[in-house]
């Protein structure tokens, strides 16, 4: 990241606002439970499907079983964000390693490895992820892995393209001349120079992962009861829409705001670093 790109990012008020909203949401998700008198699991039979009211016992109302919606939404946010971080890290490291090796190896290996990526991205990957979550039972670690497996293809492509151009530079030649091994060159000289585009793409991957996780949870394949993610909460709310719309609107609204802000920040970062505007996703 050059100084110019930081300046360009700073002068983008929308991205700055979106970024503060994300920070605020994360802060509420983490510290909110200390301020909320209600916990996640307790059932309040006196207030079943209660309206949201700031003066009442439940700020954002309760669901069908009398569980506090504020507490549940906070938990859903934490789970969704945690999944996004873990799966994002997996897809980032996988894509980085694969792309850097392919790009640095070049020639036949590069062609072979990229052909593999091409075949994989031609497949309807989402169906295989649905398969995998079904096959390996409901283990949530595998869910993270499966979701991480989505983002790495594009990441690998971007990294490989950058690596190809870095490989031509003098400092790589200098490293080779001074006797550095291939592994060391990739780790110490190639990867640090890749970080700009990698960060940009990683920020754009996070909302995709959150979206996908909530999609799977919505279908009942992801996070399981008694845990909640934003997807399971929305699925629950969609069933109660007519009688108690807030059960849908609270988690749905949080998810929408979170995704919109993450996308805006990602776009802003890309524009700041790549310096082209409104380019295609």
């Amino acid at each position: 990241m050059s100084k110019g790109s930081i300046h360009r990012l700073r002068s983008n008020p929308v991205a700055a606002l979106a970024f503060s909203v994300i920070v605020l949401l994360i802060a509420i998700a983490v510290i909110g439970p200390w301020f909320n008198p209600n916990n996640i699991e307790s059932l309040d039979w006196a207030h079943v499907a209660a309206y949201p009211s700031l003066t009442g016992a439940h700020w954002l109302g309760t669901d069908r079983l009398g569980r506090d919606l504020f507490a549940r939404t906070l938990e859903g946010m934490r789970v969704s964000l945690a999944v996004a971080c873990v799966a994002g890290a997996i897809s980032l490291s996988l894509g980085l390693a694969y792309g850097a090796v392919a790009g640095y190896a070049g020639g036949r290996w590069d062609q072979l490895m990229m052909r593999f990526i091409e075949v994989l991205s031609g497949l309807p990957l989402i169906f295989f992820v649905i398969f995998l979550t079904v096959i390996f039972g409901r283990s949530q670690y595998l869910l993270f892995l499966a979701i991480g497996a989505i983002g790495w293809l594009t990441m690998a492509r971007i990294v490989r393209g950058q690596t190809l151009s870095i490989r031509q530079r003098e400092f790589i030649e200098a490293a080779i001349a001074s006797g550095a091994g291939t592994g060391r060159i990739i780790l110490r000289h190639v990867v640090p120079n890749l970080l700009g585009p990698v960060i940009v793409y990683a920020t754009l991957t996070i909302p995709q992962i959150i979206l996908f996780e909530s999609f799977l949870s919505f279908l009942g394949l992801g996070i399981q009861e008694p845990h909640a993610s934003l997807g399971t909460l929305i699925a629950e709310g969609a069933g109660e829409m007519e009688a108690a719309p807030w059960i849908l609107l609270v988690p749905g609204g949080v998810l929408a705001v979170l995704l919109v802000c993450l996308n805006i920040v990602g776009d802003g970062l890309r524009d700041a670093i790549v310096g082209r505007e409104g380019a295609a996703t």
Partner: protein
């Protein structure tokens, strides 16, 4: 052009075969089977059932039988929906899925392209900024949030449209699901069109076209649109994939009798043949779309048509 098409078509067959093989062994590798129930079946009955469906054969023999039947267009019987073949189940639901999917795709293209072009022509105007801000929202918010929300507003409060359900031939039941389904691809298409149109509009031959006094619509339709469409054409296959995935949830929320539910249900029930049928249908559709995109590319860009 024809030779190019045949070459691409020949490449699609092994891809489909790889998908079929991978899906077959993945779903067979899953623990559990189609006859697992609350109370376990007596072993004699289970053995009879397995013989009847050919599950007692070695897995390679089963694979051979399945692919052999598939070559004759036979998807086999469903394990869970007794008395139905997979062909019948898919045959009943597919028209509905195809209808909402096709409508969503047409709507996404029909609105996305003009919207993007308009935004590019009025670069940095208020309309441009408004459209692009809305597009960010449309891309970010998933259809399973949009659809219940639309149902709440237009179905429950305003009572203009039904929230869910389906009647043969009824358009009103399709309005909300189609809108929810087309929104993300529509916004992405609008953004891509705007970006590529902006680039094209800066080029020399567009300036020439304006300089010799051609009216705006001629410049756009005859000179700018075709090169500007190239990146959008590349997005068509992902758009179809996104509509397919979206239809999995949209159909279940809106209570439409499409085939979307069969994939997840079939996988959970270990309804081997049904899942395989779904994977094959969806993959074949995607591959066909990829082929169509290749053809479109060749039409849009003569370098591909005549080169190689």
């Amino acid at each position: 052009m024809v030779r190019y098409f045949i070459k691409r078509l020949a490449g699609a067959v092994p891809t489909l075969l790889i998908i079929i093989t991978a899906a077959f062994f993945l779903i067979r590798g899953a623990p559990g089977g189609p006859f697992d129930q609350e109370q376990t079946l007596p072993p004699e009955i289970l053995a009879n059932l397995q013989t009847a469906y050919g599950l007692d054969l070695p897995i390679w023999a089963q694979y051979g039988r399945y692919v052999g039947a598939l070559a004759h267009g036979d998807f086999g019987p469903s394990f869970k929906y007794k008395d139905f073949t997979v062909t019948e189940l898919i045959g009943q639901g597919f028209p509905v899925t195809l209808e909402i999917g096709a409508l969503a795709l047409i709507l996404a293209l029909g609105l996305g392209l003009p919207l993007g072009t308009y935004a590019a022509l009025h670069h940095h105007s208020a309309a441009d900024h408004a459209a692009m801000s809305l597009a960010v929202v449309g891309i970010a918010v998933p259809s399973f949030v949009v659809l219940p929300f639309l149902g709440l507003v237009f179905g429950i409060y305003l009572r203009w449209l039904p929230v869910a359900g389906w009647e043969p031939g009824s358009i009103r039941h399709l309005v909300l699901p189609v809108i929810a389904l087309c929104l993300p691809p529509l916004c992405i298409i609008a953004r891509m069109t705007r970006a590529s149109m902006l680039e094209v509009l800066r080029s020399q031959y567009i300036r020439t076209a304006f300089a010799k006094g051609l009216p705006l619509h001629i410049v756009i339709l005859r000179h700018a649109l075709r090169p500007a469409l190239v990146p959008v054409a590349g997005y068509l296959a992902p758009a179809v994939a996104s509509i397919m995935t979206g239809s999995l949830v949209v159909e279940s929320i809106a209570g439409l009798p499409g085939i979307g539910r069969y994939l997840v249900q079939g996988a959970l029930n270990r309804d081997y043949t049904l899942v395989m049928g779904m994977v094959i249908i969806y993959s074949a559709l995607l591959i066909a779309m990829g082929l169509a995109v290749d053809m479109l590319y060749a039409w849009l860009n003569p370098r591909i048509r005549f080169g190689r």
